[in-house]
């Protein structure tokens, strides 16, 4: 069991980060992510979303804080737990919902599914379902950005469990040697699937305790504190953009739901779950906003709008046709075909 206090976190986020002018935008984004994920969960239970799905409930502050700090041309690389990161970059809910429900209107017309959300148009370069695989890819994208002088920064999200796999190590080494503009963000939600990360990891802080192995340092942030995340994100992106090389951030947060659709998450001690629910990134942030002068009513209005947006997205996906089955044999190659004959 890891209580927030064990990790040196306050029992509620402090919201001390500099977010001037972004207060409501951050709130809106988090609400949208939260409501989308809740609805996605309901739709699973109804059998309308098939396969598997990994929600970001409880981790919205990381996705929101970063996305809001990024330039439109910056690039995101995320994992199978990628709904929030995809939406946060501005991808329409209907396209994401369509993909989850396997409709023709889906972001990839149903070819990718929940674990592979990608929207190049929005700088969302992909969700990767093999743990660790996207870290080297992010390094490559950042190398190209530097080499072409695009001023893009690449932000690469991954979990605590990912720090034990080989690709993580190779990617961080290479990123450091080549000094490329990538921000590695470890969303430490304390679990790799059903196993507490502490049970299978030799250090307490999976990313931060390893930074020096790559000649780098790391920043730890309260991943449930959207103000801190946004503030740190903004500074990290600026540092990278000015040639500061790779930046490492470990965001301490908590996965409020199970690992994936089929997981009730019963292996987590009740006290731990409760302590983390008490520092829910959204509820705490709403309280903070009210305490700093925003009205509950305006927050409620934002929430209502987000609910309507989710409703609309679900409706659009429900009424959309399934993809044409001819799609199976398309788009393997750049000429649009899937033929292995010349």
């Amino acid at each position: 069991m890891l209580l927030p206090t064990d990790l040196g976190l306050p029992s509620r986020p402090a919201f001390k980060g500099e977010i001037n002018g972004h207060e409501l935008a951050l709130f809106e984004l988090m609400v949208r992510l939260r409501l989308f994920e809740r609805r996605a969960y309901d739709l699973f239970l109804q059998g309308l979303v098939k396969g598997t799905s990994h929600l970001s409930l409880g981790q919205e502050a990381v996705a929101a804080g970063f996305a809001r700090a990024m330039e439109p041309t910056d690039l995101t690389f995320a994992t199978y737990r990628g709904h929030a990161h995809t939406l946060a970059r501005g991808v329409p809910m209907s396209a994401v919902m369509g993909e989850l429900m396997g409709r023709a209107t889906g972001l990839m017309a149903g070819k990718g599914g929940s674990m592979h959300l990608t929207s190049v148009e929005h700088g969302m370069m992909g969700s990767y379902a093999i743990v660790g695989a996207h870290l080297p890819v992010a390094v490559g994208a950042a190398w190209a950005a530097r080499s072409r002088g695009t001023k893009q920064v690449v932000v690469c999200f991954f979990g605590d469990g990912t720090t034990n796999i080989g690709a993580f190590h190779e990617a961080l080494s290479l990123a450091s040697v080549w000094r490329v503009p990538v921000v590695f963000v470890c969303e430490n939600n304390l679990y790799m699937e059903y196993t507490a990360i502490s049970a299978v990891t030799p250090v307490r802080h999976p990313l931060a305790d390893r930074a020096s192995a790559y000649g780098l340092s790391a920043t730890m942030v309260d991943g449930n504190d959207v103000a801190e995340v946004f503030d740190v994100a903004r500074r990290s992106l600026a540092e990278c953009r000015e040639g500061g090389g790779p930046v490492l951030i470990e965001a301490l947060t908590y996965r409020q739901s199970g690992h994936s659709r089929t997981d009730p998450g019963t292996y987590r001690p009740k006290e731990e779950v409760e302590a983390w629910l008490a520092r829910d990134p959204l509820a705490c942030y709403a309280d903070y906003l009210v305490s700093s002068g925003f009205s509950r009513a305006e927050l409620d209005e934002i929430e209502a709008k987000a609910t309507a947006e989710v409703d609309g997205a679900v409706e659009a996906a429900r009424s959309a046709p399934p993809p044409e089955i001819s799609l199976v044999e398309t788009n393997l190659w750049a000429d649009g075909s899937a033929s292995w004959r010349s």
Binding site: K50, G51, T52, G102, R103, G106, A109, G110, K111, G112, G113, S114, M115, H116, Y128, A129, I130, V131, G132, A133, G161, T162, N164, I165, G166, A167, M192, E193, Y194, T195, A199, V200, T201, Y267, P322, P323, I325, L327, V328, E329, L332, A338, W340
Partner: protein, 326 residues
């Protein structure tokens, strides 16, 4: 007889062998406390304790490498790789180390280990969690490969794999974990390298394995009922060693061969078996053998697309019918 699901059969096989031989140990991600993400190892930690059932970090190279090292030094490890797609992240350990050690050392080192994994598609997991890797492993000299299609066979083949002195890859099919059937009580151990004729008919031979076996049987029933076409359906079960005798006997009897495989098309196990049949039973063939495969694409996630990609009962029926008519 107890009714067991395919996933329960995995745990039963492991328990049977772990009870019998203290050298058998189990490692993998979430296999211990959580009982496996497919719940196929549920209860084993309680029964055998934490020195024989071990959770690992997400580190498949370490999992297979550790299993190899342990097999060299007196244990008989069973390593779980959660999804067959993840063979890719530990492919060096599987293909270059585990498979080659005995040969390179001219027999100094035996490698009695088992790699279990959830193989195959049909559950809408998308391109990186649905692959059928039968051909990945079949093509590597030094690996034995089995793929049970029923709960009973899960027990018999897994037990045989664990007792075998060589590395054996057990391809469980993830779309079959919920399938249930009666499985005899008591110790159950098969022999590796035995195909089973699941149905006999004189018009053509269909070879399949894993989740394609029930589909082939359903297609055979339909063809018999609706068209009077009688198929022999052989469950290949073991790709290495391969029961060439049973396969050839059947093909010789019917003169016609169809393979049904989930592999993407190019260089699948179907191509290999077809080549063997052509080379060794040329004169007995009445027509060109035909492969029914997934097209040569990654698997799409959406249900309609995945269903269109994988060989379906309809596609088997139509293909067989068309070729028998011509």
């Amino acid at each position: 007889m107890a009714i067991l699901s395919y996933r329960e059969a995995v745990a039963r096989a492991l328990a049977q062998e772990m009870s019998r031989d203290p050298k058998v140990v189990l490692i993998g991600e979430d296999v211990a406390a959580a009982g496996g993400v497919f719940k196929a190892t549920a209860g084993l930690l309680d029964q055998f304790g934490s020195s024989r059932v071990l959770d690992t970090p997400i580190a498949e190279q370490a999992i297979i490498g550790a299993a190899l090292g342990a097999a060299m030094n007196g244990l008989r490890p069973v390593a779980e790789i959660m999804f067959a797609d993840f063979f890719a992240v530990c492919w060096d350990q599987i293909a270059n180390q585990v498979a080659k050690t005995r040969y390179m050392t001219n027999g100094q080192i035996s490698v009695p280990l088992v790699i279990r994994t959830a193989n195959g598609g049909g559950v809408r997991f998308g391109a990186q969690h649905s692959q059928s890797v039968e051909n990945w492993v079949m093509m590597i000299p030094g690996l034995k490969v089995v793929a049970p299609s029923t709960p009973r066979d899960v027990v018999g083949l897994t037990a045989a794999a664990i007792r075998d002195p060589d590395p054996v890859v057990v391809l469980e099919h993830k779309a079959l974990y919920a399938v249930r059937e009666e499985v005899p009580e008591g110790e159950l151990v098969d022999e590796l390298g035995k195909a089973v004729v699941r149905r006999e008919g004189e018009d053509a031979t269909v070879l399949s394995l894993g989740a394609m076996v029930p589909r082939s049987l359903a297609a055979a029933d339909r063809l018999a009922r609706e068209r009077g076409i009688e198929l022999t359906v052989v469950d290949v079960r073991s790709l290495v060693p391969l029961d060439v005798t049973t396969l050839l006997d059947s093909v010789r009897a019917t003169g016609r061969l169809f393979t049904v495989e989930e592999n993407p098309r190019l260089c699948g196990w179907g191509a290999e078996i077809l080549s063997i049949v052509v080379e060794e039973a040329w004169d007995d063939l009445k027509a060109a053998p035909i492969r029914i495969t997934t097209p040569h694409v990654p698997l799409p996630a959406a249900d309609v697309l995945e269903d269109a990609a994988l060989p379906s009962v309809e596609r088997i029926v139509d293909t067989v019918e068309k070729h028998l008519a011509s």
